[in-house]
């Protein structure tokens, strides 16, 4: 190995180290930003080193250099603009979009490379299959999150049959590539089958399952990039791909556990179509107690301890600033305020925390499920904003669609105020028994308007 190659390898090793250290620093909010910067510095170094390798090698022709340069410049601008203008509520669809293009690029690498060995053929096929599936799957997921594709589960006629057919086509193409030197046509065939499968697998998945799906797609992209690394014999791609694969796998498991649903059932899709609703969850038509915003404001103002439970309704109404303003007003009055955040409260893992951080909620006040639940019995008021299934006490009993799902023990607080637009069902499609609890009062309003009314009531009656 020449001295130049040795140095290049060592620099790439340093870059991979930067990725690991960067991820390690993400273990705490105080160091996380520096972690991302360390990781970005490693990435910059890896790219610069590769530029030097290309120039030193001298094998790249002028057209390829132009294609590479123009493509990179265009992509960088598109990425930067999207990253700058995106609203925090739209974060899941943007992350999903970046995930899609990463998977697409990994698949294109294997499609453009002429495999020189059996190893390159096997990993190349895997790269194409996983990369193309993630590309189309993430695009559909992103479209669903952005509302461009209907978020409800879409049932494709004969979907299961078509999926099996696509899997067979993909397997045949893979055998052609590896065993019979099928080359580019077979690889493109595999890519087409995987693209179609990605669409077909993502369409039937409902909005509430999105945190699991985008975690899983993230893991797939990591794997695809690692496979591209095998094809190109490039260690940094293998390491980075493995790291991302691990991150996606962990988040997938955490999210699936938080919904108490096996990953296989989520992939099968159809949750929330209404076919699982026949089971009676009890107390369906029980009377609920309504409360005015002013009464609720007074109740909050004279509480000792308030826990705010935000759900997707808060994100959908863009009401994070109002929620934090209310929390601050209560804190100033001497009320102890914290937020209890369920792992699947948003549309991607940790989404709610980002929204509240945007609105300047200090991260010490953001508590997860395990931290929050022991505190509810000594909480005077639990303020539920646009959260539904994750607070349903029916989950503690067997025999209904939310059975066994870890919930926030909101019903154990001394009193509960729920801000919600109507008594409509959550994604599980069942009544929430919390609403019929005698200690629960309902404030029927959109999250933003309801919180605004609470703030106004607070300054008018409890000033």
């Amino acid at each position: 190995m020449s001295a130049f190659d040795t140095i290049v390898h060592l620099v790439y090793l340093a870059c991979a180290t930067a990725f690991v250290i960067g991820l390690h620093l993400m273990n705490a909010p105080a160091t996380a930003r520096r972690g991302n910067q360390v990781s970005a510095a490693g990435m910059g170094l890896a790219i610069l080193t590769t530029v030097v390798v290309l120039i030193e090698g001298g094998r790249i022709n002028a057209y390829a250099a132009w294609a590479l340069g123009l493509g990179t410049a265009g992509g960088a601008v598109a990425g930067l603009v999207a990253a700058r203008v995106v609203r925090m509520t739209a974060m899941p669809q943007l992350v999903s979009l970046f995930n899609a293009v990463g998977g697409g690029a990994a698949a294109l690498i294997a499609l453009g490379e002429h495999p020189a060995s059996t190893q390159a053929e096997v990993t190349g096929v895997l790269d194409v299959l996983i990369g193309a599936l993630t590309f189309s799957g993430s695009l559909i997921a992103s479209g669903k999150l952005a509302g461009r594709v209907p978020g409800r589960p879409i049932v494709v006629p004969y979907g299961r049959l078509i999926s099996i057919a696509l899997a067979v086509v993909a397997a045949v193409m893979a055998v052609l590539v590896v065993g019979f030197d099928g080359g580019a046509p077979a690889l493109w065939g595999a890519a087409a089958a995987a693209l179609a499968a990605g669409v077909l697998l993502t369409l039937p998945i409902g909005g509430a399952d999105m945190p699991v799906v985008i975690s899983l797609l993230n893991a797939c992209t990591g794997t695809a990039v690692a496979m591209a690394g095998f094809v190109l014999e490039s260690t940094p791609l293998i390491i980075a791909g493995a790291l991302v694969g691990a991150a996606g796998a962990i988040l997938t498991k955490l999210m699936a556990d938080a919904m108490n649903r096996p990953i296989s059932a989520i992939i099968a899709g159809g949750y929330g179509t209404g076919d699982a609703v026949a089971v009676a969850a009890g107390s369906g038509s029980a009377a609920v107690r309504e409360i005015t915003a002013d009464d609720a404001a007074i109740q909050l103002a004279y509480a000792g301890r308030v826990v705010i439970v935000p759900g997707y309704g808060l994100a959908a109404a863009q009401a994070q600033h109002e929620a934090v303003a209310l929390a601050q007003a209560l804190t100033e009055r001497g009320v102890e305020v914290s937020y209890a955040i369920h792992p699947v409260a948003g549309r991607m893992p940790g989404h709610m925390n980002v929204l509240l951080a945007e609105a300047n909620a200090p991260y010490e006040q953001l508590a997860d499920l395990e931290e929050s639940n022991p505190g509810f019995p000594r909480t005077d008021v639990a303020l539920v904003i646009g959260a539904n299934d994750v607070t349903n006490p029916a989950a503690r009993r067997p025999g209904n669609p939310v059975s066994g799902m870890p919930i926030l023990d909101v019903d154990r607080a001394k009193s509960v105020i729920v801000i919600k637009r109507s008594l409509g069902h959550g994604y599980a499609g069942i009544d929430n028994e919390l609403y019929a609890d005698p200690r629960t009062a309902m404030l029927f309003a959109d999250a933003k308007a309801g919180l605004g009314a609470l703030l106004a009531g607070l300054s008018a009656y409890a000033g």
Partner: protein, 94 residues
């Protein structure tokens, strides 16, 4: 199995294990930036696209290369910037 493939497999497996070890400690509060930051890391696929560029010499190849470069650059540039934007918002009690 060639020695090269064995070496690559070793690196891949150890990478997975390191990933599990490091990432399982990340608190729920940071899961979105974690996913977005990990997303940016797989933008290293741009390095792969650059290495691929040295082997390409057909018009169809140039087109494929340009698309791949566009995708990868969007992934890496956007991923890091949006993660930084998010993490800048995480503040302690001032």
């Amino acid at each position: 199995m060639s020695p090269l493939l064995l070496a690559d497999l070793t690196v891949f497996t150890l990478g997975l294990l390191v990933g599990f070890e490091v990432i399982s400690k990340v608190p729920a509060t940071l899961h979105t930036p974690l996913m977005s930051g990990a997303n940016a890391i797989h933008g290293v696929v741009l390095v792969g696209v650059m290495l691929l560029a040295a082997t390409i010499s057909t018009p169809a190849g140039y087109a494929l290369l340009a698309v791949a470069a566009f995708f990868a650059a969007m992934n890496v540039a956007g991923g890091y910037v949006v993660t930084d934007r998010m993490l800048a918002m995480f503040r302690s009690r001032a």
